[in-house]
Amino acid sequence: MVNPAKVIGFLDLLGNWDPSLALVMIGGLSITIPLFHFVLKLDHPLLDNRFYLPTRQDLDFNLIGGAVIFGAGWGIAGLCPGPAVTALVTLNSSVILFVAAMLAGMLLHKFITE
């Protein structure tokens, strides 16, 4: 998913559809769904005395609005944070611009809203 063409290929349901990203998610969840269940039964993780887990359960405007904005950016570039960082090793100027802009977007959000 480091190659945005693979991501766009998945999101392009009506075009030349490439289901690969779905398998990435299924592969990931096939591990995390069963294993998180067991890990979370522990009193604490191996190297710390507590877990650091989100506790909120409510759906609010920020969650949904943020997901829309993130989804739009992801759909335009075919990049989300993780693969974008890894793709930096290509030294491709598009990735560097994307990651720089992503950091700027995070900064903007913090300083405009807080």
Binding site: A5, K6, L23, L40, A77, P81
Partner: protein, 140 residues
């Protein structure tokens, strides 16, 4: 179906899942890349080392893949540089506002049966699909 690479996709996904499981088991933390990177951008004393190490791993993993496969990392930009900047801004803003991205909500949040993550994942997936469709109409 074009360019479908089921085996590498599934195995890659499993590696991501393994990474998230190890992070939770060893460090007790959620592997949400937007959050990990955000924590470097807005550092809290004593909370930075593991984040930097993780990001180094993200980069190192890419390098190791290139070295072992002896091929460059395939990367085909899907937009012009200016549009990549816009997209980056949206992803940066949106992941902070929405408290997560595909790894945090999609892989970890769903595994925790978090209704926030189910909702966020559904919304960003649908939005991304519509965005690709609209881009296709505009750009042709």
């Amino acid at each position: 179906m074009q360019n479908f690479t089921p085996y590498s996709a599934f195995i890659g996904g499993m590696l991501i899942g393994l990474s998230a499981t190890l992070m939770l088991w060893i460090n007790g933390r959620i592997t949400g890349i937007s959050g990990i990177v955000g924590g470097i951008l807005f550092p809290v004393k004593g909370d930075s080392l593991w984040r930097v190490v993780f990001v180094a791993g993200l980069l190192g993993g890419g390098l190791i893949y290139v070295l072992l496969s002896n091929k460059p990392l395939p990367f085909e930009p899907q937009a012009t540089p200016l549009v990549m900047i816009l997209a980056g801004l949206l992803v940066g803003w949106g992941t902070r506002m929405g408290s997560g991205c595909t790894s945090g909500h999609g892989i970890c949040g769903i595994a925790r049966i978090s209704r926030r993550s189910f909702a966020a994942t559904l919304v960003f997936m649908l939005t991304a699909i519509v965005t690709v469709w609209l881009t296709g109409l505009i750009v042709g």
